[in-house]
């Protein structure tokens, strides 16, 4: 009897955690499944299994859906190859060669992260729209009879590649620079030439990182909604995420079919994520030694400057041109210009509308909302992550492996799909959460749970368990040992996880897409709304502010010595 109670008490914290995570993650997915297989969208008073059918999946046989699926796979595949080429090339230049200004190269590698893909897509539509894009105006201005059309498959691929290359850069750069130089020196000593060593030793050692980041980028670009919508929609290139969005926004809304498409998208991602996790696991055993010994630099000879120039071209395409375009759009007085020459006219540019926009009630409210939800989701997310990590790594509670699995499961669920599931969950839920800021916080908690959990658990693993146990042996209760020893030692890890979550929440659009109301708009939503209504100038103004806020968080994180982006998806 007492044993049963003791067992219950031991299992209780895990049980509560599991229940919470299930509400956060599993229930929304069940609602998606339910909606996909029934004729009714989940609604208060109308959930049940009595309207089951398979007819929603007929939408998959339409040419639109097949086209969207084909586009998604093709575009994600091509974009990840290009992103991989850019990221690996830059990482190699920055980590292992004598290219000039390698710190600048490193910055080039990560800088595009400060532009969320939504902003990047927006800026490129300013640059490359066939009719009024700045680049096209420039081409026509110098008398060239050619038109750049960003609203196309190649356009989509290029923009996705530009903004996801940093993920490959970060992973490959750390693999290349943490690689134990002894491994390469051993090859030299045993008679390997430099080229031979690169091909036989260095490259294979970095391979898991390259593969892992390639698959990661494939998954991320596959589920990317903002670029697909901003660039794909005008060019009538549908992908699965934008197709889901269109089905939901059709009138009447076709939620059941959207759910069916969501199931397919999730299934594809599930497979991809499973492969990626394996690649990541393998990576652990191969390269990283963390000794911080600098490997020998490879002389590039006459390729030094051409390589540097190529890196700068990337920097221009990903950062300089887009930011310039946003600035011009934010500052220009007339909404449309027919040639770039008009920009040099007196009073062509002014801060009037930028100032107007930045002090508007809409923007202030969105900024407040954004910061509030991000801070709340960051704090709660870090706390939950700590509870999960502690249970998984420091206790032998039953069910802790399940807990870990559930915590990591949102990795395989596209944010837009999770958002859709959360919409139905909280519409049906008896608590009036839908339409409040709380539902946005819940959405961000669910979407970024894996990142939070990974950050905190990496940190808890670095704190030797003996440190806490010794406090207990010296007479302290367990809870006090945690607060006196473990938590203080995890401070840096916890703070950087918090900042990472803040940053990810600030950037997120897709998860909030179906959950906001006019009172709970976020900065990302405001940009998207402005764009959707054709108010490009407004969108550009908010984008600039938005990037500023993200940059500030990133700098804050860096000054705390945190590796902000490493844990991101």
């Amino acid at each position: 009897m007492t044993a049963a109670i003791a067992r219950l008490r031991r299992a209780l914290p895990t049980g509560v955690l599991l229940l919470g995570l299930a509400t956060l993650v599993i229930v929304p997915m069940l609602f998606i499944l339910l909606a996909a297989f029934s004729t009714e969208v989940p609604r208060p008073g109308s959930i049940g299994l009595d309207a089951l059918s398979l007819e929603n999946f007929e939408v998959l046989s339409t040419s639109q859906a097949m086209g969207a699926l084909g586009n998604s796979v093709f575009i994600a595949g091509a974009a990840s190859l290009v992103a991989l080429a850019i990221g690996c090339g830059l990482a190699f230049l920055a980590a292992r060669t004598d290219a000039p200004a390698r710190r600048l190269l490193y910055f080039t590698g990560i800088a595009p992260l400060f532009l969320p893909s939504l902003v990047g897509a927006l800026a490129w539509s300013l640059l490359g729209s066939p009719a009024t894009g700045f680049l096209n105006l420039l081409l026509h201005g110098v008398g060239l009879d050619m038109t750049l059309d960003i609203y196309s498959r190649p356009g989509l691929i290029m923009i996705l590649a530009l903004y996801y290359a940093p993920y490959a850069f970060l992973l490959v750069h750390s693999a290349l620079s943490l690689m134990n130089p002894d491994l390469e020196e051993a090859a030299f000593v045993h008679g390997g030439t430099r080229r031979h060593t690169l091909r036989r030793i260095t490259f294979p050692l970095a391979m898991p990182a390259i593969l892992g980041s390639g698959i990661l980028i494939f998954a991320l670009t596959m589920e990317n909604f903002p670029v697909a919508q901003v660039i794909g929609n005008p060019g009538q290139v549908d992908t699965l995420p934008s197709f889901i969005y269109r089905l939901m926004n059709a009138s009447p809304s076709r939620g059941n079919e959207a759910a069916a498409v969501a199931v397919v998208l999730t299934a594809v991602l599930l497979v991809v994520t499973a492969i990626q996790q394996r690649a990541v696991l393998r990576r652990k055993f191969t390269t990283v030694t963390g000794k911080g010994v600098k490997a020998k630099l490879i002389p590039l000879g006459r390729w030094r400057w051409p390589a540097f120039a190529a890196a700068m071209v990337y920097f221009a395409l990903a950062v300089v041109l887009p930011v310039t375009a946003l600035l011009i759009a934010a500052l220009q007085n007339s909404p449309y210009i027919a040639s770039l020459g008009q920009l040099t006219d007196a009073d062509a540019l002014s801060f009037y509308s930028l100032g107007e926009m930045l002090t508007s009630e809409d923007l202030l409210q969105a900024a407040r909302n954004s910061v509030l939800t991000a801070v709340l989701a960051g704090l709660i997310g870090t706390a939950i992550s700590f509870a999960i990590s502690y249970t998984v790594y420091r206790t032998n509670a039953p069910g802790r492996r399940v807990l870990e699995f559930v915590a990591m499961s949102p990795l395989a669920v596209p944010a837009i799909v999770l958002g859709l599931g959360l919409l139905w969950t909280w519409l049906v839920a008896p608590i009036p959460v839908y339409g409040t800021m709380a539902v946005l916080v819940v959405a961000f908690l669910a979407v970024f749970l894996p990142q939070g959990y990974r950050g905190v658990s990496a940190s808890i693993l670095q704190v030797d368990r003996d440190l806490e146990d010794s406090a207990v042996l010296l007479g302290s209760p367990r809870a006090k040992a945690v607060s006196y020893v473990t938590l203080p030692l995890m401070r840096v890890g916890m703070v950087s996880t918090l900042l990472l979550l803040l940053m990810l929440c600030m950037r997120e659009l897709s998860a909030a897409l179906f959950l906001f109301t006019s009172d709970t708009r976020l900065l990302s939503i405001l940009i998207f709304d402005n764009y959707d209504n054709g108010a490009m100038q407004g969108a550009a103004c908010v984008s600039l502010l938005y990037c500023g806020v993200i940059l500030v968080i990133a700098l804050l994180a860096k000054s705390l010595g945190a590796k902000t982006v490493e844990g991101s998806r």
Partner: protein
């Protein structure tokens, strides 16, 4: 205080770490648990501390039952008054040495003046008086080890557990701290349980050694007893006996056993009666070296002498050739390939004589009393 472990069994999932282990530790005794990694020695210690929960058994510290699977007693670690020095030291890097050491006294909410005095006393004892206000992250390995020891001593533990406390130190420091530890333990007449895989550490620190294999104690005795009379060849191996060969008994001659080394054409004379439980070496028929029933001839390398002439009075005389010479300061280690036999490991005191070059023909010998015949393993 005395510590009693009765029929302790511990498993991690399906893997059994400790099997039905019982041992009594007397008040003020220093017991060393000696064994290879994975033999269950650290698990046993963690059971005493309360960091692991055995499946069954009873643990008593002093007169208090701290664990009893039948009566469902399980005193949490913070109520057991057990001191523990971790292998990693577990000194909190974010606190000063004073705070580290004073922790347990503050838990007990003692008056400030008393805390200060007791911390100072114990820091004196371990020789760290000057360092009280130093941050703990700036310490060397030896200093960390002392802080960890002081932190446990200050609480006046009923029993002090030490988990390979010297294994992270360099060899010279290890030798010095070993003596210091033994001195402190004897001066305070502390009951100690000490875990190590290093036989010389065990011999130096123990009142008794409990040799552990596969979750059981296979031999427990005073250090010199275990050293002189191990129960099995694998224990002998662990204690530095490097010449171990499977053998068969051929004959008896003037109360000496004549043994043939399996697979070799060499005879060995031994005065040792087969030791160990139930004289396991008697089974003379088996000649398969992989068979655990095959007895083993065990000779310490320091018991082998190398001569240029055979002993005139007979006895063990094996002709061989020096194959490897390794100079070790006061000793020289030779590997000698015996003619028609195995390779012998010999540790010869130098006494200023010249080293024997590789290829030198030598006569190796060992007193029949120094040749032990042991079963491969202690039977379960």
């Amino acid at each position: 205080m005395k510590v009693q472990l009765e029929n302790i069994t511990l498993a991690y999932g399906d893997a059994v770490a400790i099997k039905d282990l019982s041992v009594d530790i007397a008040d003020g005794e220093s017991l060393v648990l000696l064994g290879k990694s994975g033999c269950g020695k650290t698990s046993t210690m963690r059971c005493v501390a309360g960091l692991e929960t055995p499946l069954s058994g009873r643990i008593t510290i002093g007169d208090t039952v701290v664990f009893d699977s039948e009566r469902r007693v399980d005193v949490p670690p913070n109520k057991r008054n057990v001191g523990m020095v971790f292998q990693s030291y577990a000194v909190w890097p974010h606190r000063t040495i004073f705070h580290n050491v004073a922790f347990s006294l503050r838990q007990q909410k003692l008056p400030k003046a008393e805390i200060r005095e007791r911390v100072r006393d114990v820091l004196d004892l371990v020789g760290l008086t000057e360092f009280a206000d130093r941050g703990a992250s700036l310490l060397s390995g030896g200093q960390m080890q002392r802080v960890a020891l002081a932190r446990s001593l200050v609480m006046r533990p009923s029993v002090l557990l030490l988990d390979e406390p010297l294994s992270n130190l360099d060899a010279r420091l290890r030798d010095r701290l070993r003596v210091e530890l033994r001195e402190i333990q004897q001066r305070l007449s502390l009951t100690c349980v000490y875990v190590t895989h290093d036989q010389s550490e065990a011999l130096a620190l123990a009142d008794r050694i409990a040799l552990m294999q596969n979750g059981r104690i296979v031999q427990i005795d005073r250090p010199e007893k275990i050293y002189d009379a191990p129960f099995s060849a694998s224990i002998a191996d662990f204690l530095g006996v490097s010449n171990i060969f499977p053998c068969t008994r051929v004959a008896s001659r003037e109360n000496l056993s004549v043994l043939g080394l399996t697979g070799h054409d060499v005879e060995v004379l031994s005065r040792s009666l087969p030791t160990g439980p139930e004289g396991a070496a008697e089974g003379s028929g088996a000649a398969d070296p992989a068979d655990p029933a095959t007895p083993r001839v065990c000779i310490r390398p320091e018991d082998i002498r190398l001569l240029t002439e055979p002993l005139p009075e007979g006895g063990n005389n094996w002709l061989g050739k020096v194959e490897v010479v390794s100079f070790q300061g006061s000793y020289v280690r030779y590997r000698v390939g015996l003619k028609g036999g195995p390779e012998l490991d010999a540790l010869v005191p130098r006494h200023g004589s010249a080293l024997l070059p590789v290829g030198t023909p030598v006569w190796a010998t060992a007193e029949p009393t120094a040749v032990q015949v042991l079963p491969a393993e202690v039977p379960a």
